[in-house]
């Protein structure tokens, strides 16, 4: 029985009952005939009878599910995501700065379900049998796959930074995964008396959202400037360089004067121990800093499901074939988003979305026994330093001699010392970008 037979029959059965429809088997044969006459396989086959399971409903997973269905409408696509509403990490900082309501960061799965016919299951993906190509959901249901796409995001390496575990995060939040942690940090900032010190501890590379810690202190500074102008911000960094460094430094100076102090690793910025009870941190050379509000961005690794599937290596991330993002360790399993080792691409929502589109094509081509097209990925990370002050870093990526690289001559950061209207436009475009990627990923229509 050819797969095209399967889906053409019901498709043409509209308005007839099934028995009547079955009489006209001829219709069903048409697809097979065309396939036999040399029509490209997945145009006729459309992936019918084949199933792709996508784990994780964030920028990577939700986009992969949508674009799989756009490419091969008859492919069965199952998306597994525990949350009914997904809250994005991007723009959490704007919530912390008081520029956005938390609810505006939430997105649902109606478009994927209703418009694209994705089966969305709100459950945890538990045990994975990579050889048997099946996984078990939290409710016990077993789900087999022809191809598996993992977009699990990050997990924290609890305890890798001494004193910082899940219990410590209740006192000194990370707020690096949106949800109760974001609300906790916001509440602590609101409760902090004027004249207090906000300390942010930034990790070594690689980590989710390289400009994130620096945008965060900008947004906290924006809030302090309005409500607690005598307060200080200390950024203790395990690195000596960071994303868009010159632009951030310029923006901090111009907007917040001396409020933000950044301490790099060689100036003893690396935190080695956290005492969440007393909101104290100790640096490499033994200096103790005390905070009024302490925000620790902990070391990270690929989400747990990636480990369970056997695609993670000693680095804690997942190595992949650069053309398709198929795991180097487990055939038929693809990994996208923050969990993947894809330098020089940053771990950003934007990149996860474009990785999803490249991988969706690779998966559909692979299922049809065809070659995927020459891949291309892009990134644009907007950071908002103040309501009228946005900056960007952009990149276009390709495979060159079997390695990922930035296309020579492309990409780069906003110019230093740009005119105020340039910064203003990039702040405006940051909002527009968020609306667009939320529409492209989850189908969320912009408000108003």
């Amino acid at each position: 029985m050819s797969p095209s037979t399967l889906d053409m029959a019901p498709m043409n059965a509209k308005g007839m009952n099934r028995r009547e429809a079955l009489k006209y088997l001829g219709l069903a044969g048409a697809g097979s005939l065309l396939a036999a006459c040399g029509m490209p396989l997945y145009a006729t086959r459309g992936g019918a009878g084949q199933r792709v399971v996508v784990v994780g409903g964030g920028f990577g997973g939700a986009t992969a599910a949508k674009y799989l269905k756009r490419l091969a409408p008859r492919l069965e696509v199952v998306l597994i995501e525990p949350q009914r509403r997904y809250y994005t990490c991007p723009f959490t900082n704007l919530y912390l700065g008081g520029l956005r309501e938390f609810e505006t960061l939430g997105h649902g799965y109606d478009e994927l379900r209703n418009r694209y016919g994705v089966r969305v299951i709100h459950d945890l993906a538990g045990d994975v049998d990579s050889e048997g190509r099946r996984l078990t959901l939290g409710n016990g249901e077993q789900l087999s796959w022809d191809r598996l796409i993992l977009s699990p995001g990050i997990d924290f390496r609890w305890g890798a930074l001494e004193g910082y575990d899940e219990a410590a995060a209740e006192k000194a939040p990370h707020a690096w995964k949106p949800g109760p942690q974001s609300r906790l940090l916001r509440q602590q900032l609101v409760d902090m008396p004027d004249g207090g010190t906000f300390i942010l501890v930034a990790p070594e590379n690689p980590f989710r959202c390289p400009p994130g810690p620096y945008e965060r202190v900008s947004m906290v500074a924006h809030y302090f400037k309005q409500h607690k102008p005598r307060s200080k911000i200390l950024l203790l960094d395990a690195k000596d360089n960071f994303s868009k460094q010159g632009l951030f430094m310029e923006g901090w100076r111009e907007n917040y004067g001396e409020m933000i102090e950044w301490v790099g690793r060689s100036s003893d910025g690396k935190v080695v121990r956290v005492d969440a009870e007393n909101l104290e941190v100790e640096t490499e050379f033994g200096e103790i800093h005390r905070a009024s509000v302490l925000n620790v961005v902990p070391p990270q690794q690929a989400g747990l499901i990636a480990k369970r599937t056997g695609v993670v290596d000693g680095t804690g991330w997942t190595p992949v074939n650069p053309r398709t993002f198929e795991s180097k360790a487990v055939p038929g399993v693809y990994v996208i988003g923050d969990a993947v080792e894809a330098a020089p691409m940053p771990k950003s929502g934007f990149v996860a979305n474009t990785q999803a589109k490249v991988t969706a094509r690779a998966v559909v081509a692979d299922l049809a026994g065809e070659e995927p097209p020459e891949p291309s990925w892009t990134n644009t990370c907007y950071s908002v330093i103040a309501p009228n002050w946005g900056i960007t870093v952009a990149g276009v990526y390709e495979v060159h001699q079997g390695e990922l690289r930035e296309v020579p001559g492309s990409g780069g950061v906003s110019p230093l010392a740009a005119a105020p209207d340039f910064r203003q436009r990039e702040a405006l475009y940051a909002e527009a970008w968020y609306a667009a990627i939320a529409q492209d990923t989850w189908g969320t229509r912009p408000a108003g």
Partner: protein, 169 residues
């Protein structure tokens, strides 16, 4: 009817295969029965009916095929039937999909960032090449992005978005 019952070897999951078997049986059942039943008797009414069915069948195959080809051609979702594309077209569709991150799916979202679907090809082409050549003073991120593509790719992107309807069907 051998044609439609020809098997496919690369089904890997259990459930779809089970489904295939089930539906295959249901679809073929009347014919199998008919064949077994009529073989020894072959009365003329039966033969006529079989012939009639055959005529209808051939007609429907032709009709179905034509409809199918037309549906591919008139498809408004440019990514459907994607493998009918040349490798270059497939790459352009792939690059175009990355534009959606700021311009919305298929370039149709209207925000401070303008929609690009259905804009005149000449306008899009001029604009993209002007970004690349540093001729748009007000531009922010676009010059940095378009430098990642050849002029040929940018022209093909202009033509891709120009061909899309401005509004979703």
């Amino acid at each position: 009817m051998i044609l439609i019952s020809s098997g496919r070897s690369n089904v890997r999951t259990d459930e779809p295969r089970g489904l295939t078997r089930l539906r295959g049986k249901a679809l073929l059942a009347p014919y199998e029965k008919k064949v077994r039943h009529c073989y020894p008797r072959r009365d003329s009414a039966e033969i006529r009916e079989v012939l009639m069915r055959l005529v209808v069948l051939v007609g429907l195959i032709a009709l179905g095929g034509a409809t199918f080809i037309l549906s591919l051609r008139s498809s408004t979702e440019p990514t459907q039937g994607a493998s009918a594309e040349t490798p270059f077209e497939a790459r352009i569709a792939l690059v175009a999909a990355t534009c959606a991150n700021c311009h919305g799916t298929d370039g149709r979202l209207r925000t401070a960032i303008p929609p690009i679907a259905g804009m005149p090809e000449s306008f899009l082409q001029t604009q993209l090449l002007a970004f690349k050549n540093g001729e748009v003073p007000a531009a922010t991120v676009m010059p940095r992005l378009v430098k990642g593509y050849t002029d040929e790719e940018l022209k093909a992107l202009a033509s891709y978005f120009a061909a899309l309807p401005r509004e979703r069907e």
